[in-house]
């Protein structure tokens, strides 16, 4: 088909670029919470996907309430906050009940949190049913903007991008500019010394874990703009998310950013060139291959051991 003009080609290119960027922002949002928990605490949280689902379901509940009250246009931003709080509190409780008994035993944490994910899935199923749900969203978030002829930039994509930027900036500020961030970093580097200088490391752990889970909740809430939520939705994302974090280098936020960007763009471009399945396989194979070559990930400090 040679009907495609250069203007249309340009439009496709632009929209395709945006598709990559929006996949990047989705991956970033999913990975941030995990990166904090994994990077700072060394804890593998296999239930991360289910914490995202907690955020999604929170949004769903609020949307039901909102549509009863006629607040559909405005509830969504609040649901992000609510998702953060609900998922965060759930994470806080999980830390107390389970996680803190398993520090220093990463493989066991992995299995135990897998168990948690199964239990959460069944809870979702019992409460919300096996059917996937999808909150009713305000109209303004579902449209698209047209900066030029034939170019449609989805508003929800822009929204997720903006949110990812905001959250990343917020986390970076907390980590590197606040006293709490200092405590977290100190604790992750040397728990014993941190405790000795008067940091309540237990509290730091708890807050860190809760923060990570809360961020997962926000990601889940944002996700409702592009996908549905079912009891097992969370498990679809967990491997992708882990690969983003590991590929970026466990303790590095810049790494997580870079790896989410690389993977997002790569997958997006490959999808344009081949079938979705093969694009996914090729992306994963490349990431795994690179990880085998360079297990410490893209970015990491060279540490003397």
């Amino acid at each position: 088909m040679s009907e495609t003009t250069s203007a249309e080609f340009f439009a496709t290119l632009l929209m395709q670029g945006f598709a990559g960027i929006s996949l990047f922002s989705v991956l970033l949002l999913m990975a941030l919470g995990l990166a904090i928990i994994f990077g700072q605490m060394g804890v593998i949280n296999m239930a991360h996907g289910e914490f995202m689902a907690i955020g999604s379901y929170t949004t769903y509940i609020l949307s039901v309430l909102a549509s009863e009250q006629g607040w559909l246009d405005i509830y969504f931003p609040f649901s992000l906050i609510a998702a953060f709080i609900v998922a965060g509190v759930a994470g806080y409780l999980l830390e107390i009940v389970l996680i803190r008994h398993l520090y220093q035993r990463p493989l066991d944490t992995l299995l135990a949190t897998w168990g948690v994910s199964l239990i959460l899935q069944q809870i979702f199923r019992s409460v919300f049913g096996a059917r996937e749900v999808s909150p009713e969203l305000p109209e303004w978030i579902m449209g698209s903007v047209q900066p030029g002829e034939g170019i449609d930039i989805p508003v929800n994509g822009l929204f997720v991008l903006g949110l990812a930027g905001l959250v990343t900036a917020g986390v970076a500020l907390m980590m590197f500019r606040s006293r709490w961030g200092l405590q977290v970093r100190a604790t992750s580097q040397n728990r014993l010394i941190a405790g000795a200088v008067g940091i309540d490391t237990q509290q730091v752990d708890r807050i860190t874990f809760a923060l990570g889970c809360g961020l997962a909740g926000v990601a889940g809430a944002a996700f409702t703009t592009i996908a549905s939520t079912g009891p097992t939705s969370g498990s679809l994302y967990i491997v992708d998310t882990f690969l983003v974090v590991v590929f970026g280098g466990a303790a590095s936020m810049v790494g997580t950013l870079a790896s989410a960007f690389t993977i997002g763009q790569a997958q997006s471009i490959l999808e344009f060139l081949m079938t979705g399945s093969m694009a996914k396989v090729l992306t994963l194979v490349t990431v795994v291959g690179l990880l085998m070559m360079r297990p410490e990930g893209l970015f990491t400090a060279k540490v003397r051991r």
Partner: protein
């Protein structure tokens, strides 16, 4: 009777468990169960191969693989390819636009057999492939990683990713693999109908026999110096290295053995169930296989078999009787084992239950006192988690 007991006493303690297991599998089960349940047990026992491999790799080697389904699947698919070709002779597929090729290929507009299917017309090649292909894949995968000292959680995540890749690949390339349906409708092995009750009973005994062979082989490995080194590695990996051993090679070896066992299990599974599908390759079944080993006791060879049987029986029973409870139980099992019974049923059994109960009690007390219980597990996974070499 006394003389029997006397004979029993003369058996070394480490073989008694195996003897009892063999009696249970080869005598008690066949006597007690009809062919339907026996076939069910046979199916579960295929997963016991995986659990056995995990005891070696995870329990002793400290290598947690969340991708054992990959090897199970590779073994199973090799077997399935052979059986499918036998079932797709030109006569029974005459209705197709290209007779003589598997039905799903025909549906996907393939007009000739892909080259990598060709050798699977040959049974010796197939049997060899079942043993060699998965092992070779495990070798390539693990050599690169263990040489670079990737271990612990990184290895777990990467193996999980491999499971995802392989299952996506199988589903995506359905013309060559049968896609999400898998390779189905397998009928005969060298003309022998594998669907009859008689055949299933025979296959059950084959399955048990090979399983016992695998246990004996594992026993041999654990009793050799290599087994001693595995225990040593869990404790002080660095020391083993500085005693002149290549830790990476030892790990690669146990991982390959685990893969080999899984592959045998997969092939037997295909024979007993009559099909193979990507649903055994992916992430969820791979993680479930870990719990089989964990329930039985990650350090006990026979324990793994019992654990596997128990979890599977439990799954069958509970998902029938209380479907809504099953995931809670499964989840609780993961958490409970890790928190309170790190050595699984075997640990419970060896201490007459007392030790573990004490530990459970201590655990509960400690929880209240904001302290963590200290079952000695997985120290190895700790320091082997990642030591990048610059």
């Amino acid at each position: 009777m006394t003389s029997l007991l006397e004979y029993y006493r003369r058996i070394p303690a480490s073989w008694r468990g195996l003897l009892i297991l063999a009696l249970v599998l080869l005598v008690v089960f066949p006597l007690l169960m009809g062919s339907f349940r026996l076939n069910l047990v046979g199916k579960y026992l295929c997963f016991a191969y995986v659990a056995l491999g995990l005891v070696l790799a995870w329990g002793y080697g400290g290598i947690l693989s969340l991708g054992q389904g990959v090897f199970f699947g590779l073994g199973g698919y090799c077997m399935a390819m052979y059986l499918k070709l036998e079932a797709s002779d030109p006569v029974s597929t005459a209705i197709q636009s290209t007779p003589g090729i598997p039905d799903f290929m025909d549906w996907n507009q393939l007009t000739e057999l892909p080259w990598f299917w060709e050798p699977f017309h040959n049974l010796p090649f197939t049997l060899l492939a079942i043993l060699v292909l998965p092992t070779l894949f495990a070798y390539v995968l693990s050599l690169a990683m263990f040489r670079r000292r990737v271990g612990g959680v990184y290895f777990a995540i990467i193996t999980q990713a491999v499971a995802l890749i392989l299952s996506t690949l199988i589903i995506g390339q359905q013309g060559y693999t049968g896609g999400v349906n898998g390779i189905t409708d397998l009928k005969t092995l060298e003309g022998w109908d594998i669907r009859t009750d008689a055949a299933k009973t025979v296959l059950y005994f084959v399955c048990c026999g090979l399983l016992i062979v695998c246990i004996v082989a594992s026993q041999f490995i654990l009793k050799s110096k290599l087994g001693l080194l595995l225990v040593a590695m869990r404790d002080k990996e660095e020391r083993v290295r500085f005693s002149g051993y290549s830790v990476a090679d030892l790990k690669v070896f146990v991982f390959c053995v685990a893969a080999l066992f899984s592959a045998i299990g997969g092939a037997l599974f295909t024979l007993q169930v009559g099909f193979m599908s990507p649903s055994f390759v992916g992430i969820v079944p791979s993680v479930e296989m870990v719990i089989f080993a964990a329930v039985g006791g990650r350090l006990s060879l026979v324990g793994a078999i019992y654990g596997c049987l128990m979890v599977n029986f439990g799954k069958t029973y509970f998902s029938e009787a209380f479907p809504e409870l099953w995931l809670f139980l499964m989840g609780g099992l993961f958490i409970g084992i890790v928190m309170f019974f790190p050595n699984g049923m075997a640990g419970l059994f060896q201490s007459g239950g007392r030790e573990s109960l004490k530990q459970l009690w201590r655990g509960l007390i400690h929880m209240r006192h904001h302290d963590r219980p200290s079952p000695r597990v997985d120290e190895a996974s700790l320091d082997s988690s990642l030591e990048p070499r610059s």
